[in-house]
């Protein structure tokens, strides 16, 4: 192509009136047509439409164009569109240059005359660069047909099953001893009131038994390297101190543990108790016991009673092994799905609700365990029992508080957690079901019943005699010495300050990014949105993708959502992850960095700054002298240009954004016309 004199076609888009209302498009066309190298300059109402693209294709053929400049919106929007147009017309797609006269011009300027001048300049600069564009080659790499899924909550489970059913290998890694996640803790699910465990446990069993799924519970990802299609992960399988193959899950060990019933159960949110050797809940998958290394007397103190550990003594299978070590496993995968879930808001950060002081103020999740038939009370609503399960009382007056830690700038969470309105309505309904005489009051800011069947359910709950008061309580405190609580609130519909008595308050705590979110970000090089959840590649059109190719998001790690939305997103992530695996090949970025070996002095600054670990120093024999030069891994490089910024001698440059290509652009912008 170098031998050809550049023949440039310039296309100015009206974008309806987005551009044309401010910019005099005809004047820009007129200006562009006189620029060096420009053969045709045209305008059209929507360049991205089929007739618009057709115009470009036709001109490439008739006018023998070999460079195309499109002045329209941001290249982030339509660069792929027009690259395909060029490709369809038989031109190298990288002979396209875009000038952004919408976001950078018509949308931000009011004065049409100045905006038109700027648009002319931007087009002129794009033409200046178009003259120097190079044809780039798009390469493909093979994809390892396996997927790593991190987190075995409902999102991870669903994605694993879909991918495994499609015939691909899945490594499902879960940090806890059992799969199931938060969904396993729930009692009934809104708005249909299916039993959560009943719909989840079959799927949990399926992932354990599926021939294509390798389940790694009580394991964590240590490191990830590589790129889409060719990731390498190191997984740490934490020591359970129980031989996985020998353990039959009979549970005699837990009954005989010296700490039986003394350790607050994480699964029961601390209202139930477990042993130091435990399974999180009866339906846990795998049904294998685990010793808590932070609690077990033998592991923490080196001594357990006079006769030694009782668990080991009673285990017929001889499964207990205090010498077990963590195991590191290396796996190769092509794609990754991050489904690490969420943490609930810690209500001690809202001290006015008295969660820390009053045992009868509880979180929604604690209430789920309380009301669950598999929970510590067997589903009886009894509050304030001691560790042995004695004492306690049946609440008569119950208050539910909406938006605890959601829609609340004071705790830094501006977002709506999307599930609290409905789970509180469901919990109010469950209480009404079990304690028909209880007086139930729900304090809300707004009720957001937006999903399928939500409004109907909310209506039903209100008709059951549950009172909804619009107001956000300012304080909850204990009245006198008994367990009666006072909820201070202003009914904002009538403007009256009120005080309500209650002997149980359930806080509708919101969903938050996990506390270990930083580690996951560092591991997978993910980004966060302002709410702290993982950022998707595009909020509307690429909701399960991340900025890193081959890494997808599913479930609440991307933002709060209910079970149906989580399952839908998991299925979306699964099908997105299947695309590269099914096609067996992925295209890698063509606009990658290139090293001018003659100028490289091998200092390695580019290696240090590269966010994709795409550069390494290699030894080269130069006339007998061994020197080091940077070398770019073409599959890993994303063309971000960090290396070019760090290079002191300008020896590494991203293709299509070389100094020699950008400089003429700047030169045009720097010179005043007329």
């Amino acid at each position: 192509m170098i031998n050809y004199r550049p023949r440039i076609g310039v296309y100015i888009c009206h974008c309806g009136i987005n551009i044309a209302a401010v910019i005099d498009v005809k004047a820009v066309v007129e200006h562009a047509s006189k620029l060096p190298g420009v053969v045709v300059a045209r305008d059209y109402s929507y360049m991205c439409s089929d007739p618009g693209q057709g115009m470009v294709r036709e001109d490439i053929e008739k006018e023998k164009l070999n460079r195309v400049v499109v002045a329209s919106c941001s290249p982030r929007m339509h660069e792929p569109t027009f690259r395909n147009t060029l490709k369809d017309a038989g031109l190298n797609p990288y002979y396209l240059e875009m000038a952004n006269i919408r976001e950078q011009c018509s949308w931000v300027h009011e004065d049409p005359a100045i905006a038109t001048e700027k648009a002319k300049k931007l087009v002129e600069a794009a033409v200046a660069k178009a003259l120097l564009l190079e044809a780039l080659e798009e390469k493909e790499v093979d994809v390892t047909p396996a997927c790593l899924i991190i987190g075995a909550g409902i999102a991870g489970i669903q994605a694993a099953l879909d991918i495994a059913d499609a015939g691909f290998k899945v490594y499902l890694v879960e940090k806890n001893p059992s799969v199931g996640g938060h969904m396993a803790q729930l009692d009934k699910t809104f708005p249909t009131l299916d039993c959560s465990a009943c719909i989840l446990t079959p799927k949990m069993v399926d992932v354990a038994n599926h021939p294509n799924i390798e389940l790694m519970t009580y394991s964590q990802v240590e490191s990830i390297e590589g790129y889409v299609g060719n990731f390498k992960a190191t997984i740490r399988k934490k020591a359970r101190y129980v031989d996985f193959d020998k353990c039959t899950g009979c549970g005699i060990c837990a009954e005989n543990c010296r700490l039986a019933g003394r350790i607050p159960s994480e699964f029961d949110e601390g209202i139930g108790y477990r042993s130091a050797i435990y399974i999180p809940f009866p339906q846990a998958v795998p049904a294998k016991y685990t010793i808590d290394p932070e609690r077990c007397l033998q592991l923490t103190k080196g001594k357990c009673g006079k006769e030694g550990p009782a668990c080991a003594a009673v285990c017929d299978a001889k499964a207990i092994n205090f010498e077990q070590q963590d195991e590191l496993v290396e796996i190769e995968i092509g794609t990754i799905i991050v489904a690490t879930g969420y943490d609930i808001f810690d209500p001690t950060r809202k001290p006015e609700y008295g969660y820390a002081e009053n045992p009868n103020v509880m979180t929604g999740l604690e209430f789920e365990r309380l009301v669950s038939a598999s929970g510590p009370t067997g589903g009886k609503i009894i509050v304030g029992r001691d560790r042995k399960g004695e004492g306690g009382f049946e609440p008569k007056k119950i208050g539910f508080i909406h938006c605890v830690g959601s829609r609340d700038k004071s705790v830094g969470n501006e977002y709506c957690s999307r599930v609290c309105c409905m789970y509180l309505a469901k919990q109010a309904h469950l209480i009404k079901d079990k304690l028909p005489d209880a007086e139930i009051t729900v304090f809300y800011m707004d009720v957001r019943a937006f999903g399928k069947g939500f409004e109907e359910f909310y209506d039903r709950v209100r008709r059951e005699g549950i009172r909804y008061i619009r107001g956000n309580p300012s304080e909850i405190y204990r009245k006198g010495d008994d367990h009666t609580l006072i909820i201070k609130v202003e009914d904002t519909l009538t403007g009256t300050p009120m005080e309500y008595e209650a002997d149980l308050v359930v806080l509708g705590v919101g969903l938050e990014p996990r506390k270990d979110v930083r580690e996951i970000i560092n591991l997978f090089k993910l980004s966060q949105s302002t709410d702290g959840f993982f950022l998707e590649a595009h909020p509307k059109l690429r909701p399960v993708d991340t900025a890193s190719d081959g890494i997808f998001l599913a479930g609440c790690c991307q933002g709060p959502k209910d079970i149906p939305d989580t399952v839908a997103q998991a299925k979306g992530a699964a099908s997105s992850a299947l695309i590269p695996m099914a096609s067996g090949k992925v295209k890698v970025e063509a606009q990658i960095s290139v090293v001018n070996k003659d100028e490289c002095r091998g200092c390695g600054f580019c290696v240090e700054v590269c966010p994709y670990s795409a550069i390494e120093l290699v030894e080269e024999n130069r006339q007998g002298n061994i020197i080091k030069v940077a070398s770019v891994n073409e599959a890993l490089c994303k063309g971000c240009g960090s290396c070019a910024a760090a290079c002191l001698s300008g020896a590494i440059q991203p293709k299509s954004f070389k100094d020699e290509q950008i400089l003429p652009q700047i030169a045009v912008l720097g010179v005043k016309t007329e």
């Binding site: 003659d598 490289c600 002095r601 200092c603 600054f605 700054v609 006339q623 007998g624 300008g650 100094d659």
Partner: protein, 327 residues
């Protein structure tokens, strides 16, 4: 200060041990006020080495200049180390080289020499006139004893020492393998008063000043060639694709060149002042460098060439970096 015999003995020892392939130091020059840099490869040449107040050249500049000649077939490349003698200011160049990974620590043997200052040729010429014969100059605590054309005289420091020495904060090398001689006491501090003074002028005055200075430039690139920190394989000034600076010597291109040169040294200049010393047109090049040094210190609390473990300022990223530097 160091006894020259100690220096020569050490050089002989290192060279005869076979540890190094060459040693960079100073020898008596052809012009009296300035010693000449020298590269020796054999212990027998060590007696040429000197150190006194005429040793103004920065030998660190030569470490990165070594050309890698083709190795004849069947032979191995000489990968032995390079030894270099450094004053305090010169040692900062070595440190900055290490920070920038121009070479690694194991590639160099550093002979550190404490220094009480070196003489400024221009100042000396004003006092004594030209000096075609070798000059002996010994910097002492309270002045410089100097012997020009057979006549010995003691001159105050301010009269004869280079400006960099009058604000020297590192009279002893900041890095060395073999410290030679006794450490000397620090005698000065740097308050950047020269830069602050210049900053007070109006933009028009400053521009008029630089317009005059840059107009003098003949683009001989001596300032670039002598700078220990200018060691790119291909200098941006000579690049043709893209061509950042045209080669013509006019005010516009000269200005571009000087701004480029100064900015390329932001956070890197170790203030050996070699650029200004070698300028045949007497352009106050260091004024630009000093301004950047001051800014880098104030904005980033960064001083180049002091800590070999430091990150290079402009090739590292810290979310806490101040944003005032964005113009």
């Amino acid at each position: 200060m160091v006894d020259e015999n100690v220096l020569r003995d050490k050089a002989k020892e290192i060279l005869s041990s076979g540890e190094v392939r060459r040693l960079i130091g100073w020898k008596r020059g052809t012009y009296g006020y300035e010693a000449a840099p020298c590269v020796i490869t054999d212990a027998s040449q060590a007696d040429d080495l000197i150190f006194d107040a005429t040793c103004v050249q920065n030998p660190a500049s030569f470490i990165t200049l070594e050309e890698k000649l083709p190795v004849p077939r069947g032979q191995q490349p000489d990968t032995r180390k390079i030894a270099v003698m450094v004053k305090g200011c010169d040692s900062r160049a070595v440190v900055q080289h290490l920070v920038e990974k121009a070479y690694i620590r194991d590639d160099v043997v550093i002979l550190g020499i404490p220094c009480r200052g070196v003489i400024d040729r221009r100042k000396a010429e004003k006092i004594f006139g030209e000096a075609p014969q070798p000059v002996l100059a010994v910097a002492e605590k309270d002045g410089v004893v100097i012997r020009v054309n057979g006549e010995e005289k003691k001159v105050s420091r301010e009269e004869i020492l280079a400006d960099k020495c009058l604000r020297c904060r590192y009279p002893n090398p900041v890095i060395s393998d073999y410290p030679l001689g006794d450490e000397v006491e620090k005698w000065a501090d740097d308050d950047f008063s020269d830069v602050s003074e210049f900053e007070k002028e109006s933009p028009e005055e400053k521009w008029a000043f630089w317009e005059e200075e840059f107009s003098k430039c003949i683009r001989c690139y001596a300032c670039r060639n002598v700078c220990p920190m200018c060691y790119c394989v291909e200098c941006i000034v000579t690049k043709l694709k893209p061509q950042w600076t045209r080669r013509s010597t006019d005010l516009s291109e000269n200005t571009v060149y000087h701004i480029q040169r100064a900015w390329h040294l932001a956070g890197r200049c170790i203030e050996c002042m070699e650029c200004q010393r070698v300028c045949p047109m007497d352009i106050p090049i260091m004024t630009l460098n000093r301004k950047l040094t001051k800014d880098v210190k104030e904005l980033f609390d960064y001083e180049p060439g002091v800590d070999a473990e430091a990150q290079p300022l402009l090739a590292s990223y810290n979310p806490q970096d101040p944003e005032e530097y964005i113009m």
